[in-house]
Structures are given as structure tokens and as C-alpha cells.
């Protein structure tokens, strides 16, 4: 009896945290399910109506396009990053050469860099190569700004792979690329998963490059499209809530299906084993 009594403060704290973190989501979903008139009649009632119309109208207004753009550019950038970051990490972690340490530091110092310090030159460059206001404008910046954390994760992981494996493969006549492709890369899978999850979630949510490099709706990514919806839905609050719910859904679904992996992936950059 006293044991349960003692636990009451724990329950109180846990529930307070639950309300603090979870309440905005409930409010968002509950409001998204109301039609306009029932929202104005009772803006604070919870789950009193279940109207899916808002979701349909959000799709009609072009949310599908934003979804498609976001998925395409995030995946493409992440796949390229996984490949070129692994390539670069191989000599950086496993070979001795003159500028190894300096190069590594130059790469990982990108993690500290404020994006603003590159914004105007990247804007000018994008204009000059004719990519301004296309989805492809984002590819270069997305790859470049994902490289530091990816190289950081991958080099740490590669250092742990025993040298003897590599030497055995070399005895069999493998080149460096052969060693990389057939010995190292298959062993990298867990680290590559971390790189994939971390970068995908960050690119999916990326806002400032999209804001600066894209202006027309057909090239917009999801975060930029949402910001655009804000004007269109200025009076239709349930509609905007439906858009926010739909935009948050994919990552939440991925998280619910593979919680461990997502948590590990997001912590990956910061947790050193």
C-alpha cells in the first residue's frame, strides 16, 4: 500500500509530461475533424465531430504535389549522401595520408555552421546555373549539408571494423574499391540506417533553403507548401489543422513502426558509443 502511495508523485509528473507533449497533437487532430461551423460554435470541444471533408479539400489544394516533391528530393539526396559519404569515409578512417586529419575536421565542422553563412552565395549560384525555382535547386545544398553528420557517423563506425578483414581481402587480390564494396560496405548497414533516418527526417522538415530557392507552388516541398497554405486557409482553421495533421503523419507512422531505429537514428549523430 505504501509502495503505491509513494508512486503517486511519479504518476503526476509522468501525466503532466504526457499532457505537455501530447495535448497539442490531440487538439490538432480533434480540430481537423470539425467542419467550419462546428469549430466556431465550439472551438474547444474535444472529438465532438468526425468530419473527413477537410482532409479531402487539403488534397485538392495540392498537398499531394508537395508530398511527392518532398519524398523525391529527400530520398534522392539521402541516397547520394549515403554513397558519397561512405566513399569519403573509407580513406578518412582507414588510410594514412598527409591531410587526413585536416580534411576530416573541415568536413565535420560543417555541423556547427549556420546555414545563413552560405545562403546568399547559394542563392546566386542557383540562379546562375538556371535551377532557381525548381525542385533540383535543393539537391546540391541538401547533399552538402548532410555530409558532415554522415561522415562523422560513418568514420566512427568504420574505425571499429578490424584491419585484418581488409588485409585478407587484399591478399586475395582485391583493390581498394573491391575491399570497400565487398568487405566494408556490407558491414556498414547499421550505420547507413542511422545516416538514412537522420538525414531523411531532417531533409523532410527542411525549410530555409526551400524558402530561399523556391517560389512557385509546383516546386514547393511540404514545409514550404504548409507555410503557403497558411494564407489560403486564413479563416479555415480546421482546414489548416487537417493539412498539419497530414504533413506530420508520415514521420509519425515511420516512428510508430520502428521506434527503436528512429530513436537510434536521431540520436546517432550525438551519441558516441
Amino acid at each position: 500500500m505504501t509502495a503505491t502511495f509513494k508512486k503517486i508523485p511519479l504518476y503526476v509528473i509522468a501525466l503532466l509530461l504526457l499532457v505537455f507533449t501530447g495535448f497539442p497533437f490531440l487538439y490538432m487532430l480533434s480540430t481537423a475533424l470539425k467542419d467550419q461551423s462546428s469549430f466556431f460554435e465550439a472551438p474547444f470541444s474535444f472529438f465532438t465531430s468526425f468530419n473527413l471533408e477537410n482532409f479531402a479539400s487539403v488534397f485538392e489544394m495540392g498537398l499531394t504535389r508537395y508530398f511527392f516533391n518532398s519524398i523525391l528530393i529527400s530520398f534522392l539526396a539521402v541516397i547520394i549522401v549515403m554513397f558519397i559519404a561512405s566513399l569519403a569515409s573509407y580513406p578518412l578512417s582507414r588510410m594514412k595520408f598527409k591531410f587526413n586529419r585536416v580534411l576530416f575536421l573541415i568536413f565535420i565542422s560543417g555541423m556547427m555552421l549556420p546555414i545563413h553563412a552560405t545562403l546568399i552565395p547559394i542563392f546566386k549560384l542557383t540562379e546562375n546555373i538556371g535551377l532557381y525555382d525548381t525542385l533540383w535547386a535543393l539537391l546540391g545544398p541538401y547533399i552538402a549539408f548532410s555530409l558532415p553528420i554522415s561522415i562523422f557517423i560513418l568514420t566512427q563506425f568504420m574505425q571499429e571494423i578490424p584491419k585484418s578483414l581488409e588485409e585478407a581481402a587484399k591478399m586475395d587480390g582485391c583493390t581498394h574499391f573491391g575491399v570497400f564494396w565487398r568487405v566494408i560496405l556490407p558491414m556498414l548497414t547499421p550505420a547507413l540506417m542511422t545516416v538514412l533516418i537522420y538525414n531523411f527526417i531532417h531533409l523532410w522538415n527542411e525549410f530555409i533553403f526551400a524558402l530561399v530557392l523556391i517560389s512557385s507552388p509546383e516546386s514547393m516541398t511540404l514545409p514550404l507548401g504548409l507555410q503557403d497554405f497558411r494564407g489560403e486557409f486564413s479563416v479555415n482553421i480546421p482546414g489548416l489543422m487537417a493539412a498539419l495533421t497530414l504533413a506530420s503523419l508520415p514521420i509519425l507512422m515511420i516512428y510508430l513502426f520502428s521506434q527503436e531505429k528512429v530513436v537510434k537514428g536521431l540520436a546517432g549523430g550525438a551519441v558516441k558509443e
Binding site: 509522468a14 487538439y27 546568399i120 587480390g173 527526417i201 530561399v212 506530420s248 516512428y255 536521431l266
Partner: protein
């Protein structure tokens, strides 16, 4: 692929009889070059070169389209006399302070709760992590609606408690607080997972030994958990400080730096000067200062960390 590798392997055995060491050396150099080149080229074009360009632009008066005029350090001089810049710098400092002293302790509390022996904690811990998964734009818009003076749920609670409803985001004295609360809401879960990983790593024997000595929960926390978490607290603080200097999205979405520059950050001010006023030279000066501050802070943190480790080695 297979045949290519075989071919390369064969050519390697054939060349063995020749000057072996120079050949291998040349091959290694070529490998290093080819392996690093793709990443380095992209990185140089989109990260390294732009930093130099930003500095070059910052020495010019430029609207982004017509010819640049060299003005030396005039932009920087003007910047240091610009009250808005100092406001934004102060606001950035507030973000740093709140991140380190509110966000991180809250993250630690959340992580500790994950280990509490209560029912339903598995479910709760999943929910605790939700805010960090939502896109910043969605978070910003959601909270703008929640803070709304007429239809917002927060003001409903405020009036329910018998107070006047507050225009949280359009009053200078509440706007900063209101946005910082959202920043805490978004990022506390991130620190929760960092602390969770660290708590799992604390050896169980330490707690058992303390239990034998009759230590209670609080003493165990102060004498075991907290010291063992020190490295995580330090690295979390580094992430929080560096992240705060870069803050932009949530402020841009929620207030756009207003009201009357009350929530202006270096990031939002730079964006306005560059892409709304087209003062590209002036904006570049702000951007370069942001880079410079981040650089200095990073170097100071690295040095402190270096001395901390060095001292640790002798104690």
C-alpha cells in the same frame, strides 16, 4: 562489377614485378583522391566556397542584381551601430540560455521518467518523443493557432481561470516567452533520448552498492546518476548552444521577428535584409558574423573540453 574487380586484380599482380612501392603509393594516392573527390566537390561548392563569397559580399554595397561597390568594413561598422542587430544578438543569447537551462533539465527529467516503475510508461515514452518528429513549420503553425487571442485554446484556459485573454505573439513582453516555450517543447525530447542512452549505460553494480550502503533515491541520483551523466550534459549543452545560434525556422514562422523586432534573431534579421530589403552586402555582414560567432563558440568549447579532459587525466 565482378569482372572489373577481377581485371583490376589481375593487372595488380602483373605490375607487382615492376617498381612495387612507387606503384602502390601512386595507387593509394589515386584511391584516396577518387574516394574523397565526390563528397569534397559538393561540399566545396555548397559550403566552403560560399563562406568566402559571403565574406567578400560583406565588404560591398550590393542589391543582388546590379554591380557591387566596394565599401570596406562599412557594413560591419553600420551593423555595430544598429540597435536591431543588438536586439537580435540578445534574443539569440536568450535562446541559448533557455536551451541550456530549461530544455536540457526537462529532457533529463523526461529521460528519468522513462525508467520510473509505473504503469503505462512505455506508451507515455512514445508520446514524449512526438514533438521532435513534427516539422518545425507544422509546429509553428499549430502553436500560432493555439496562441490565437480569439480562437486559441491557450486563451480559453486563461479566461477559464478568470484572466483576460492575452495576445501572446503580438505583444513585445510575451512574444519571446511564447516562442521559447515552443522551442522547449520541440527539442526537450531530443535531449531525452540522449540522456536515455546514457542512463542505460550506467553500470547496475553502482546502484546495488549504493543500496547496500542504504542510499535513498535522491542520494543515488546526486552521487551516481548525475556524475555519470556529466559527459552527456556537456555534449548536450554544446549541441544546444550551437543549435540556438542557428535558430530561425520557428521564429520566422511564428512571429517573423516581430512585434517591433521583439523576437528578432540574427537569422531572421539576415533573411529580411537579404531577401526582402535586398541589402545583400549588409545581410552578408550579418551572415558572416553568425559564422564567426559560431566558430569562436566552437573553439572555446573545444578548448574547455580539452582542459577538462586533461585535468581529468591527473585527478
Amino acid at each position: 562489377m565482378q569482372t572489373l574487380v577481377n581485371k583490376m586484380a589481375r593487372s595488380r599482380t602483373m605490375s607487382k614485378s615492376k617498381t612495387k612501392s612507387t606503384n602502390v603509393k601512386f595507387r593509394d594516392a589515386l584511391t584516396i583522391l577518387l574516394f574523397i573527390a565526390p563528397a569534397f566537390i559538393v561540399y566545396a561548392v555548397y559550403v566552403l566556397y560560399p563562406i568566402f563569397s559571403t565574406f567578400r559580399y560583406s565588404l560591398h554595397a550590393w542589391d543582388g542584381m546590379s554591380e557591387m561597390t566596394f565599401v570596406g568594413f562599412a557594413n560591419y561598422i553600420q551593423l555595430f551601430q544598429d540597435a536591431v542587430f543588438w536586439t537580435s544578438l540578445t534574443n539569440n543569447a536568450w535562446v541559448v540560455i533557455v536551451s541550456v537551462f530549461v530544455q536540457i533539465p526537462l529532457g533529463l527529467l523526461m529521460a528519468l521518467m522513462l525508467f520510473a516503475p509505473i504503469k503505462g510508461i512505455r506508451f507515455m515514452s512514445s508520446v514524449y518523443f512526438f514533438p521532435f518528429l513534427m516539422s518545425t513549420v507544422a509546429i509553428g503553425l499549430l502553436w500560432v493557432l493555439m496562441y490565437d487571442p480569439i480562437n486559441g485554446i491557450i486563451n480559453q484556459l486563461v479566461t477559464l481561470l478568470g484572466f483576460e485573454s492575452v495576445s501572446w505573439l503580438s505583444q513585445a513582453d510575451t512574444a519571446m516567452f511564447a516562442v521559447l516555450l515552443v522551442v522547449v517543447w520541440q527539442f526537450a525530447p531530443f535531449y531525452m533520448i540522449l540522456f536515455k542512452a546514457a542512463i542505460v549505460g550506467i553500470p547496475e553494480e553502482l546502484y546495488e552498492a549504493a543500496k547496500m550502503d542504504g542510499a535513498n533515491a535522491l542520494t543515488k541520483f546526486i552521487h551516481i546518476t548525475l556524475p555519470m551523466l556529466m559527459p552527456t550534459i556537456v555534449s548536450s549543452s554544446i549541441l544546444a548552444i550551437v543549435g540556438s545560434l542557428k535558430a530561425f525556422d520557428i521564429f520566422y514562422i511564428m512571429t517573423g521577428g516581430g512585434p517591433n523586432h521583439g523576437t528578432e534573431l540574427m537569422g531572421t534579421y539576415m533573411f529580411k535584409q537579404a531577401f526582402i530589403n535586398f541589402n545583400m552586402g549588409y545581410a552578408s555582414a550579418i551572415a558572416f558574423l553568425m559564422f564567426f560567432i559560431a566558430l569562436v563558440v566552437t573553439i572555446i568549447i573545444q578548448m574547455l573540453d580539452f582542459y577538462r579532459k586533461k585535468r581529468g587525466a591527473y585527478s
